[in-house]
Amino acid sequence: MKELIARRAARLLQPGWVVNLGIGIPTLVAKYVDEGVVFLHSENGVLGVGPPPGPGELDVNLIDAGKRPITVRPGAAYFDSAQSFAMIRGGHVNAAVLGALQVDGQGIIANWAIPGELVLGVGGAMDLLSGVRTVIVVMSHTTREGEPKIVSQLTLPKSSLRPADYLVTELATFRVRDGGLVLDELVEGVSIDELKARTAAPFSTA
């Protein structure tokens, strides 16, 4: 299911784009893009992330934002955290692929805090949402308990005032347009009634 989501999210990325991939399902997107055509940005200070190191290639000081060892592509560059986030906030990163806990009917995302739990991490998620040109949310359509994650009203704290541009689940891809969700693509074998039953926010089909 995760692979299906990642593969479909990857199709939204345009040649030449600089893309930041979050932790979790977003990480899997790397498998489905040509790193010579799409450039991967990691907010800890790398542009041009390549595949994981092969035997003998490991450098423990070269990691991505998920703290996994990486390699870099030819033409890569290193920079510090302030410059990295300047790129992100300043709109120089074409897209971010991010996970989410909830998304509302306007595309507003909750992906960092759970009420009642001690919140000890935010990382770069809010910065990415504030600045990248296209935000692609990838997530399972429902929680493990089967509850809709696409909701009319967020019950979790929002991550930004800025909505996602695309929302990719194992059932469908939505686009956010004029403050509402628009169904872009239904996964083969999923009926529109099933999708509606598992989605707790309205969406249009054109």
Partner: protein, 220 residues
């Protein structure tokens, strides 16, 4: 020429009880592990630690926390060390969470002599609560203050004898910007080379930001 000290000497010279320390690194990468070990071996306490995270349980700054030396932690991602949550719940640690980019920018603002800046990050969220917000040209921004420290403990790859620094791959991360934001900067490096051995085009941290050098004994 820059003073070259052992990590223990450097920590003894620059740290003090109640000091605010910036510690470089993203996870353990780019973390000045030799200096952190010397800090852990010291008697200094009541520290405020500004670092993206607080290591892993019992490792690096995680050990500093276990030793009860950290009164307050400022960072963006403490989730990887369960000791942090336990210390907060036990009332032993105060945590201030800042978006990672805002943290880096606040350090840069401190190093660049600015009084504050307006960032769109976190506007409208819980992390903006209690902060001044403002709509500028139709967009909501949060006013953030510069983030200063008494001491920065940073990790670089090579220094020349004046204190000019170059870094290694993604171990650069917060280190250069922390070097600008603290009153006293100690750089832990793999190697110290002669003045003139580093091309002026490739120096990332010019020597005017650096106060002490220490040779790294601990490696990843």
């Amino acid at each position: 020429m820059m003073k070259v000290l052992s990590a223990e000497e450097a920590v003894a010279e620059v740290v003090f009880d109640g000091a605010t320390l910036m510690v470089g690194g993203f996870g353990l990468v780019g973390k000045p592990l030799t200096l952190v070990r010397a800090l852990n071996a010291s008697a200094f306490k009541d520290l405020t630690v500004i670092s993206n995270n607080l290591g892993e349980p019992g490792k690096g700054l995680g050990e500093t926390l276990r030793l009860g030396k950290v009164r307050r932690a400022i960072g963006s991602y403490f989730t990887t060390n369960p000791d942090v949550g336990a210390a907060v719940l036990a009332g032993k640690l105060e945590v201030t969470l800042i978006p990672q980019g805002t943290m880096a920018e606040a350090m840069r603002a401190a190093g660049a002599g600015l009084g504050g800046f307006y960032t769109p990050t976190a506007a409208g969220t819980r992390l903006a609560e209690g902060k001044e917000t403002r709509v500028l040209r139709g967009r909501e921004y949060v006013l953030e203050e510069p983030l200063h420290a008494d001491v920065a403990l940073i990790r670089a790859h090579r220094a020349d004898k004046l204190g000019n620094l170059v870094y290694w791959k993604s171990a650069r991360n917060f280190n250069p910007v922390m070097a600008t934001a603290a009153k006293t900067v100690v750089a832990e490096v793999d190697e110290i080379v002669e003045v003139g051995a580093l091309d002026p085009e490739i120096i990332v941290t010019p020597h005017l930001y650096v106060d002490r050098l220490v040779i790294a004994k601990e490696r990843l």
